[in-house]
Symmetry: C2
Subunit: 257 residues, 2 copies
DNA sequence: CGGTACATTGAAGGGGCTCAATCCACGTGG
DNA sequence: CCACGTGGATTGAGCCCCTTCAATGTACCG
């Protein structure tokens, strides 16, 4: 396989290495699916609602958001995409994309044509299974956010969100043990959590006053993980449960037709 | 292929026939994946949070819910499964299932082992692509619910929910043009929409008072589709956008390795 | 130095919640 | 046939969380 931009696939590889039992060789196969890294400037769409697509994308660098804007201007952000995340599931699989994905920062993406994706299932079923699992993670994050917004208070939501970011960034090597950089405005966080920016400001302040977190500019430090986790009902959710089921892997080479 | 319980796969087939370009033969292949229909009594789990699974399930008859209960008893229902829906994505793809799925009514399910699923991608890529698309629909419904709960008022949510049920039931032949049977308590609806049962009661009453719907027992009739759709910002969301992208289909037989 | 974007804070209002009572349909056992 | 219990729907009163509107502060940048 060609040498390719090796460091760029590291976020995806790190994530899968931590959560699946794929071998280094298999991770390389997955990484080699990607073609032609392409820069995307801040505030440019990677995917635009209503358009047709024939490929998935991988976010190699930067941060992006999936969102929908209602007719009266209210916006709900569905998810934040971090380096190593697949972009385009499920939006791209529909006749016309169901929502937009926009780069929040300068970003780099790489595309994976559907045809290439499907060939993988025949060529390497174990890696194909991992793709399934990656999509499961996307769906599961929607579900977790649903629980968040549907049944948790504003304070719990903000606490949960900070912990989610910490874990996700840590897996891809972009966070220290207890701190990370969060280049998000409070309005953005509000649109993610179904709150107003004003209220996010108040709740962040409350978390600081309670000694649970420290925020200096964009730098966030969790000063009391236990307290924050208890507040957000966090342990069960993310910490250990996002591991791929071994049952997904085919036991041996698939039998002929 | 064996004759099998032909009418039982009809809900899934109807849905796919309406939203994809699969042929009747391909629909049969998809239907033949299922094995051993199994009855599940009311209030019994089909999938239990924390357990391991090696298969997906298809709901052939009845209604089921996916949900999570927080430590203090608050419950969020993630989704309602109707006949023809796949169950187990994404829950089953993780090391231990992320949430439970319980039958609300007496139900019939059928299992599809992962191995069987994966063989399909090699044997029949077009049908394999449809499986991908089915999972995309699950994820998209989570996203739609997220937008609902995050950025819509209680009245809009209830209106949106009734329209969603109407469309979903109509596709599988369980609703007339404008009416359907809804065997759901208001507490259930509340747990779906992130509201209390008391408030659901009030908002349903308001919809009735405004002449938008008529409710007699479990029978729901939409008396003003236009008005209800406008209230719920509905058109764009579900009506025509849940069609499978043709780009997902491989252009020809996959080339050999 | 003025302009823009973002965070912060206060005051007031409202949407949805909590608590509680009532009603109704239904099933069960006397 | 009726008394009783149960689960669900309805309605009212009061409260509180979050929103709205607005003003102020602050960093950054031309």
């Amino acid at each position: 396989m060609p040498p390719g931009p090796e460091p760029r696939i590291s976020a995806l590889s790190q994530k899968l290495a931590a959560r699946t039992s794929l071998s280094a060789a298999e991770l390389d196969i997955l990484g080699s699916l990607q073609a032609e890294p392409r820069p995307v400037a801040t505030n440019r769409d990677i995917i635009t609602e209503g358009y047709k697509y024939g490929a998935l994308f991988v976010l190699l660098e930067g941060i992006a958001i999936r969102y929908r804007v209602l007719h009266d201007g209210r916006r709900q952000i569905l998810n934040i995409a971090l380096p190593g995340d697949y972009i385009g599931f499920p939006a791209c699989f529909f006749d016309t994309a169901l929502y937009s994905i926009t780069a929040l920062t300068d970003a780099v993406v790489s595309s994976i044509p559907f045809a290439r994706l499907f060939r993988l299932f025949a060529d390497n079923p174990r890696v194909g299974a991992a793709i399934f699992w990656i999509f499961s993670c996307e769906a599961a994050m929607y579900a977790e956010r649903l629980i968040d917004i549907g049944r948790r208070s504003a304070l719990e939501r903000v606490a949960h969100f900070l912990l989610e970011l910490l874990i996700r960034l840590r897996v891809i090597g972009l966070a220290d043990e207890l701190s990370f950089r969060m280049p998000l405005t409070q309005e953005l966080i509000g649109d993610i959590l179904g709150l107003t920016s004003v209220h996010v400001s108040r709740k962040l302040r409350q978390l600081r006053a309670d000694g649970l977190v420290v925020i200096e500019g964009q730098q966030v430090t969790i000063s009391d993980v236990e307290g924050l986790s208890a507040l957000a009902d966090f342990e069960r959710t993310y910490l250990n449960h996002f591991r791929m089921s071994e049952a997904l892997f085919p036991a041996a080479a698939p039998p002929p037709i």
